[in-house]
């Protein structure tokens, strides 16, 4: 790639620059193993799926990103999570609660609407959506919204979605003693298949 071409490519968010290129359109996940597996981190201007068998599983993987974004004053949003995001724990994980919005729409239509609006606006660095697997047209809309707003879209499902997802990243997560088992089922720009365990932050005994 010529210097000009690479400059142009890096100026356009979401432009894929092939396998093995150093990527600037990612945000570190804050988890070294995961960063390596994802060729740098969560892709910016794209959707990443986190799939687990149980509702809410994988939230801990988002923590370092949410903490870093909110600490630098960049807002993040949690849309229709299955449980209450527990403020004391988020604070302990380093999240600046002033920059976190928790959205609990009454139904799925409103949840998808809210996620799309927030991604599109560019006002939110990260929008995390908990939802049943997304239908292809809806996924495309959210993907487009993430591209437009140059945000990071995290979509968490508790069941396997269709195999034809266009998400840039798909992680499968499963619980394991004192850790979370991760499998990179797909990652745009690098090879999938990495498996590793991310250890829980050690809970302090009372």
């Amino acid at each position: 790639m010529s210097a000009l071409a690479s400059e142009v490519a890096s100026a356009i968010p979401g432009v894929w620059r092939g396998l093995g290129q150093a990527r600037s359109d990612v945000e570190s996940t804050g988890v070294p193993d995961l960063d390596r597996a994802l060729a740098g981190g969560w892709p910016i201007g794209a959707l990443s799926q986190i799939v687990g068998r149980m509702p809410g599983l994988g939230f801990s993987l988002m923590m370092p990103l949410l903490a870093r974004m909110t600490q630098t004053g960049r807002p993040v949003a949690l849309v229709s999570p299955p449980y209450i995001p527990y403020a004391p724990a988020l604070r302990d994980a380093g999240v600046d609660l002033d920059h976190l919005l928790w959205i609990t729409p009454k139904d799925r239509v409103d949840a998808l609407w809210a996620a799309e609006q927030m991604l599109r606006s560019g006002a939110f660095a990260v929008v995390a959506l908990w939802s049943p697997p997304l239908e292809a047209p809806i996924e495309r809309r959210l993907q487009l919204a993430a591209e437009t707003g140059c945000g990071i879209g995290l979509v968490a499902h508790s069941t396997h979605g269709t195999a034809h997802s266009i998400a840039a990243v798909r992680l499968q997560v499963a619980p394991a003693p004192a850790s979370l088992q991760i499998e990179v089922a797909r990652c745009r720009g690098t090879r999938a298949g990495a498996r590793f365990a991310v250890r829980d932050a050690e809970p302090r005994a009372a």
Binding site: M54, G56, L57, G58, F59, S60, M63, P75, P81, P82, Y83, I84, P85, Y86, A87, P88, A89, L90, R91, D92, A93, L97, D98, L100, L101, W102, I103, T104, P105, K106, D110, W113, A114, Q117, M118, S121, G122, A123, V173, A174, P175, A176, P177, A178, S179, L180, D200, A201, P203, R204, A205, A206
Partner: protein
């Protein structure tokens, strides 16, 4: 244009005002009708109606033969006046005083001084053309030292290409204009035409006393005013201090989506008004009135004052989505009584980026559509009971807890005894509220290895899941 200190008028003539005052979707086959004596005639027709062969002046009976499904609307003078006043508000940005004529559908602005402020005619003209694209009405422009001449030029369609700067040029410039541009009664024009007259110049050359005897003194005086030989009398238009606008819909509207078209026009006018008075609005109300005079009121509150029509409409749109109208709406009222100084407002579309304004707009839209109960900010409160420790506004709280799970279940769930990973944490407080709580919390693990936050009450054997770590 030569330097002169006599007034110079910019006329904005709205040829389609009787039709556009209804704010109908452009694809409607519709005509506005006026009754003159026993005859009912079309006075304005929409573009689709024109394509089907209808034209102004046509008798209603003939129009119905040609296009049986044509929608006929009676003229609404009040709506026309309001639309005209909205244009007058808008026109203030180009100069003052501003004056209006509801009879002819025109607004005039005195612009002699403004020309210097804007840096000359050329730049002024660019500004008028640029801002004019925001008008919701079709507008024709004319510039001349007298109001009648400016209006006549506007109606002739010369636009801003042929301004007349000096009074001395008036007679000459008007000379070749066709007779039909004179704003006289139709019978008057018929008689003049029947006498073989074809141009304004020919009428101007007639003796005034004869004209006054034949057609009344008004006609003769108007001709003298046209060329600046008689003084023109007018009253300046003042924008009102409170905003109240009533909008009668052309039909009964039952879907909120269909309300958007008239609302867009109303918000456009409202925003013009705000700019004219150099203020912004943070609160206003919309009232929808149905055929039984039942009113549904929407109070619109914004996070920050604005006068940006795009933003106002966005917020409105979200509120509309949630509005249920039992009966068809016939009338909309828009009212605002409190205004904020505009100095704190950023103007408008062009400086938008990823800034707080956007964030505030987005927040408003979320709250408008989802309801305030669905949009939360999190904060930590000093209460030790887990379910009480996550809301409220005690941001500065620095209570040190042992580590807490990321997820809290809204209602604790009964579970099988889990594998415990550590000692109990006794949580006991709230007794002063009469709801004493005493629980022993454990970090635990289920069969899959998922880490749990579970408790049981000291005198109980049942286990409850209250939180999750991953």
């Amino acid at each position: 244009m030569a330097v002169e200190n006599a007034p110079l008028w910019l006329c904005i003539h709205l040829p389609s005002l009787p039709l556009e005052a209804f704010a109908l979707p452009p694809e409607e086959v519709v005509s506005v009708v006026e009754t003159q004596g026993s005859r009912r005639r079309l006075i304005r027709v929409s573009a689709p109606a024109r394509q089907r062969g209808l034209y102004p002046g046509m008798a209603v009976s003939a129009a119905l033969t040609l296009v049986p499904d044509i929608r006929l609307l009676d003229r609404k003078p009040e709506a026309e006046r309001q639309a005209l006043e909205a244009v007058a508000c808008w026109a203030y940005r180009f100069g003052a005083p501003v004056t209006i004529s509801t009879a002819t559908g025109s607004v005039w602005i005195e612009i002699r001084r403004s020309l210097r402020l804007f840096g000359g005619w050329r730049l002024f003209r660019i500004e008028v053309e640029r801002e004019g694209t925001a008008l919701s009405c079709t507008a024709l422009y004319g510039v001349a030292p007298t109001r009648p001449a400016a209006e006549l030029l506007a109606r002739s369609g010369v636009g801003l290409d042929r301004p007349i700067g000096r009074s001395s040029q008036l007679s000459l410039s008007m000379r070749d204009k066709p007779l039909t541009l004179l704003p006289f009664a139709e019978q008057t024009l018929d008689i003049l035409y029947g006498s073989g007259l074809r141009s304004v110049g020919e009428v101007l050359s007639l003796p005034r006393d004869g004209l006054a005897r034949r057609f009344g003194s008004g006609t003769a005086r108007w001709l003298d005013q046209l060329i600046g030989h008689a003084p023109d009398v007018w009253k300046a238009f003042e924008p009102p201090a409170q905003y109240r606008r009533r909008f009668e819909l052309a039909g009964v509207v039952t879907s909120t989506e269909a309300l958007l078209f008239p609302l867009r026009a109303m918000i456009g006018d409202f925003s013009q008004y705000l700019r004219t008075r150099d203020v912004a609005v943070q609160q206003f109300s919309l009232v929808f009135v149905d055929g039984f005079r039942q009113r549904v009121a929407l109070e619109i509150g914004l996070l920050a004052p604005t006068r940006d029509p795009v933003r106002l409409l966005l917020v409105l749109r979200e509120r509309l989505d949630k509005l249920t109208l039992n009966e068809g709406v016939q009338e909309i009222l828009l009212e605002a009584n409190h205004f904020e100084p505009a100095s704190i407002v950023q103007d408008d579309l062009f400086q938008r980026g990823r800034n707080d304004e956007d964030r505030a707009t987005l927040h408003e839209r979320l709250v408008a559509r989802l309801g305030p109960e669905a949009v939360h900010r999190l904060a930590v409160t000093p209460d030790h009971r887990p379910e009480k420790a996550w809301s409220g506004t005690h941001k500065g709280d620095t209570t040190v807890h042992p580590r807490r799970p990321l997820w809290l279940l809204p209602e604790p769930q009964l579970i099988d005894p889990p594998k415990l990973l550590g000692p109990a944490e006794r949580i006991e407080c709230g007794w002063w509220e009469g709801t004493q709580e005493r629980r022993d919390y454990f970090v635990a693990e289920d069969d899959s290895g998922r880490r749990l936050w579970a408790y049981r009450q000291p005198d109980d054997t049942q286990w409850w899941l209250h939180g999750l770590w991953q």
